[in-house]
């Protein structure tokens, strides 16, 4: 299940690559935000990887099979891989970059809300309290990211040269 947030459509890899790619064509005022959130997503990716690594590195193949990871083990052994919970490999089809700042930012807001919801469903399905804590942290980060992208839309609505007052 955690793998969904690693290599899935609404996962951290998608987020990082989406934002870091969009930042080349976005107006100057918003480049910093996209760079910073994109970079933070890579850190989250590593957090997911760490959780998966710690949960699986000492498991036996039988235990992996019982957990539904039998196919993954056949293809990858104990290594991680960028696929979703169903085994579909990551693809750039998961991200979009229209080159239109408003379209791109709304794609980003939607991505964050989807990630937030995904974390909610994973939390619902988990009973390990430590994993739950980490997932709650990651979910809260999506709330904040969504907030920043919404603010970025407001920034883009401003005319050139006017100092924005919230």
């Amino acid at each position: 299940m955690l793998i969904e947030q690693y290599g899935g459509a609404d996962g951290e890899l998608s987020a990082a690559l989406r934002y870091l790619n969009q930042r080349y064509s976005i107006p100057d005022k918003v480049i910093g935000l996209l760079t910073d959130i994109g970079t933070e997503e890579f850190a989250h990716l590593e957090m997911i990887a760490t959780m998966v690594y710690k949960l699986t590195k000492d498991a036996t193949p039988e235990q992996l099979r019982e957990a539904g990871l039998g196919d993954h083990y056949v293809n990858h052994g104990y290594s991680l891989f960028y696929h979703d919970a169903a085994g579909n490999p990551w693809t750039a089809a998961y991200i979009a970059s229209k080159g239109d700042p408003i379209a791109d930012l709304y794609e980003d807001i939607a991505a964050e809300e989807k990630a937030r919801a995904t974390y909610q469903w994973i939390i619902d399905n988990t009973d390990d309290p430590d994993i739950k804590d980490s997932l709650r942290f990651l979910r809260e980060r999506e709330v904040i990211h969504s907030l920043r992208f919404r603010e970025a839309v407001e920034i883009l609505k401003e005319y050139q040269g006017s100092k924005k007052v919230f």
């Binding site: 933070e40 990887a49 760490t50 904040i144 990211h145 920043r148 603010e151 970025a152 100092k163 919230f166």
Partner: protein, 91 residues
């Protein structure tokens, strides 16, 4: 490459825990400043935390080696410490 099978001293984890909290404040403040670049108070707080991080990093790194690569952290000692364990997902 050092094979660390003995467990790390408590101080290691204490440092990392404090560093983690300070780093996190810097992250959330960075995002806030990206969309509120004129907030002087937030900027002042950012500088303050930056100093705390720097002090803590200096202490941690002199005891336990570099945290950042590509020259962002000082290379101390007589051997290349960067590639030694533990790595973050092993800690």
């Amino acid at each position: 490459m050092s094979e660390t099978t003995e467990s790390l001293p408590k101080a290691y984890y204490q440092y990392l825990q404090e560093l983690q909290a300070i780093d996190f404040v810097l992250v959330d403040l960075t995002l806030y400043l990206d969309t509120h670049p004129d907030d002087e108070q937030a900027l002042a707080q950012f500088k303050q935390f930056q100093k705390r991080k720097h002090n803590l990093m200096t202490q941690f790194e002199s005891a336990f080696g570099p945290l950042h690569q590509y020259g962002l952290s000082p290379a101390t000692g007589s051997s290349w410490a960067w590639s030694e364990t533990p790595w973050p997902w092993q800690v």
